[in-house]
Amino acid sequence: MIFLKRQLPIIIAFVAGIMMWIRYYIPSEVSTNLVDGYLEWVRIIVGFAAILGILSLLQHHMLKIRMKRPGFAFSYVTIAAFIMMTAAGFLPFAFPGFAEKNMETGSLFNWLYEYTFIPMQATMFSVLAFFIASAAFRAFRARSMEATLLLVAAIIMMVGRVPIGDLISNATPAFMIGQNEYHLIDFEEWTGWLLNVPNAAAKRGILLGVYLSQIAISIRIIFGIERTYMGGGD
């Protein structure tokens, strides 16, 4: 049992990891097929895992209803919506008032998807605008040197990205440096500099660290040094 739970997964991780690493350098059809085969396996496993997911979802909400936990009424809605969408998707005939059956365009399922799911999804996404405003209000309070810098950078970016920024820039005196014309206040130039110099530098620094870390964690997993994800602890 210990072999199946501990050693075998580590052996599989090692063999698969080394194999996939080597194949990256070999441009043959066998190498391509190996990746395709791996991706097919992933799809199969995900397909089975979806059943586990559905069972988990139903189990969780049933328990919530049984235990009458806070907000258990929403669990009724979830289960009802689940049953309704599943039934509509498998409906072998066109529901009265709809032209098509199953999940075709013009079917009940499609109608529910388009007129309930998509608007709700869009609503959630739209809320983001208000959350950004609320987060910005909190972040832009000039309480420290860093917050003040953030505030100034944000103002430049915001003004530089709207037409009024251009109007302000054009209204200020212009001067020439070499063959280039500059304005005393030039939001377009400033936003470009902010994005391309300090922002890009910080972003690349973060990404460099991330990529190196990813290589390191891959090595740890391939060689079985990091095993927490197997549920095996140390």
Binding site: P27, A49, G53, L212, S213, G231, G233
Partner: protein, 560 residues
């Protein structure tokens, strides 16, 4: 190694010249055939310069002359031929009635629209206009339904003939459908067996590859078009190479048979200018302007992708450094690792949850388990779960991916068992919500608002929902620790969370929390590699300032 035969272009070998268009399309110069380092022996590469500036609408296609070996390679098997014939018979049988009905519905719809337009023009009473509008919409819906049925049959036909990466079967399917569309009778032509008459008969080779130049001036020369490019706008600001009309070395992603010599040519197409005398003429369509014989070459397979040599060297070097430090760490377990505030606060966050008698919420991000950021989040979850079990708090883990959920359950269970509290583990607290991004967000925010967790961990990769989750968490008053390598979401987490693990700190967290020497050793090795990269960047920057260039440095970090 693996170099295909390279022959300079025979610029003089211009086979066809259409005088009107040849003026508009610049000829490619210095055309060379080359090897594609990262192919499996089935690709050729062509590089060239434009002899002039191409217009935005110019097209250039690359073709190989069809030879016996290529025919053999792409020949349909009997089974494929049967698939195609059966699919066609099926389509013809299914679609005829639908097409008739759709045409009738279209006529009725058009008539209803005319009646409606007329009623509006005649300023008839609103009631009459509304009635006619209602009639039109009814006809429109019937027509749309039938139209949809035709499309469905079209898709079903494509699905029946789908043969994976079989280019020839794909080409035949497409050609068949295109032929049907081009006939001017729309789908009616599907009932006409003529386009499929030669399917599977190698005698009629002009139909074998679907796309070839048989219909053009050189009908006797059968060429297989394996790549077509359109010239981007030479005036685009973001591409200096395109602006100067220089096309970079270009790999051609096509399956040719390795080790066989191919005759390669390049056709240039220009756009026919609108003729004021004949406005109805085919203005705007691509017309063959020039054909350049490039030469002959044989694609040869490569056992090793030379363009990744620097990658291999660096991987071995970096791997070696990390493994060395892991070995060193076993001898000297007290390695110094800088303090990470976010991870120091883990105990504080869990302790706060215990004091308040409220749960801890942990999210593993929105990606699947095959992503390293999710694995890192799962690793941290294992460490955090052990601490939560120690503190006797509740842990809630909503998941977006059922695979992640299953693994998370195992990891948390093990964490509780290791802490000596297996009885405190509750499987139903680690559950799957939905795989839809915003549904997951809505559900998680709902749990935050109802259960009011005292501590929220947002680890892994996040997209636009990052702020929705973190801001809702902040509203509940929870202490929030985020960790992500999604650089676009970092500002949102920094603004709304108490502590944020930035990029690499997410991957270091597991090692940091466990304090296991071997894991800490890998962090040290990682730092050494980072210092090495920084030195290269610094050196290159200094060389750049002094207008010097050292190719070795550039080759070290870019594909060869």
């Amino acid at each position: 190694m693996g170099m295909g035969k390279r022959i300079l272009a025979c610029m003089a070998a211009v086979l066809v010249l259409l005088p009107v268009h040849a003026m508009a399309v610049p000829a490619p110069a210095d055309v060379e055939l080359g090897d594609v380092a990262n192919d499996d022996g089935s690709a050729l590469a062509v590089s060239w310069n434009w002899n002039g500036t191409p217009a935005e609408s110019d097209l250039f296609s690359f073709e190989v002359r069809i030879n016996e070996q290529l025919l053999d390679h792409f020949a349909l098997t009997e089974r494929q031929q049967k698939t195609l014939t059966d699919a066609r018979s099926w389509l013809v049988g299914q679609i005829a009635d639908v097409l008739t009905q759709r045409d009738a519905a279209k006529a009725e719809m058009d008539a209803a629209q005319s009646a409606l337009d007329q009623a509006i023009l005649d300023k008839e009473p609103d009631g009459t206009i509304n009635q006619k509008r209602h009639e039109y919409w009814q006809k429109y819906r019937v027509h749309k339904r039938l139209d949809h049925q035709v499309n469905r049959l079209h898709n079903a036909f494509s699905a029946r003939t789908y043969a994976g990466e079989d280019l020839r079967l794909k080409a035949l399917t497409w050609e068949f459908l295109n032929e049907a569309l081009r006939s001017g009778k729309e789908w009616i032509s599907v009932a006409d067996p003529a386009p499929m008459a030669s399917v599977g008969t190698r005698g009629d080779r002009s139909d074998l590859f679907g796309v070839n130049s048989a219909s053009r001036a050189d009908a006797g020369m059968l060429f297989y078009t394996f790549d077509t490019i359109s010239v981007p706008n030479p005036g685009t600001a973001d591409s200096s190479d395109e602006a100067t009309g220089l096309e970079q070395f270009r790999a051609i992603p096509v399956r040719l048979v390795p080790d066989i010599e191919y005759q390669v040519r390049m056709s240039t197409f220009g756009t026919v200018p609108a003729n004021p005398m004949f406005p109805e003429a085919e203005a705007g369509g691509p017309q063959l302007a020039d054909v350049v014989q490039i030469g002959t070459a044989a694609p040869i397979g490569n056992a090793f992708d030379k363009s990744k040599l620097n990658n291999l060297i660096f991987a071995l070097l970096f791997g070696g450094i990390i493994l060395t430090f892991i070995i060193l760490a076993r001898r000297n377990p007290n390695m110094f690792i800088r303090r990470i505030a976010g991870l120091e606060a883990v105990d504080e966050a869990i302790g706060r949850a215990t004091e308040m008698g409220k749960p801890v919420m942990y999210l593993c991000g929105l990606q699947s388990l095959s992503e390293l950021s999710t694995l890192a989040a799962i690793n941290i979850l294992g460490r955090v779960a052990g601490k939560i079990a120690d503190y006797e708090s509740d842990l809630i883990v909503p998941n977006r991916d059922p695979v992640v959920q299953t693994v998370a359950q195992e990891v948390v269970k093990e964490g509780y068992a290791t802490a000596g509290r297996p009885d405190a583990y509750r499987e139903d607290n680690i559950f799957f919500l939905t795989d839809d991004q915003f549904s997951f967000t809505a559900a998680t925010c709902g749990i935050m608002m109802r259960d009011k967790p005292a501590a929220i961990f947002l680890m892994g990769y996040y997209y636009a929902e990052s702020l929705l989750l973190a801001e809702t968490g902040a509203d509940t008053g929870a202490i929030q620790i985020a960790g992500t390598d999604a650089e676009h979401q970092l500002p949102f987490f920094i603004v709304t969370c108490d502590y944020t693990l930035i990029g690499e700190e997410l991957y270091a967290a597991s090692a940091y929390l466990s304090r296991e020497p071997m894991l800490l050793g890998s962090l040290k090795g990682q730092d050494i590699a980072k210092a090495f990269m920084m030195a290269i960047i610094l050196l290159q920057a200094i060389l750049f300032i002094f207008s010097a260039q050292w190719d070795v440095l550039r080759d070290l970090v870019t594909p060869l």
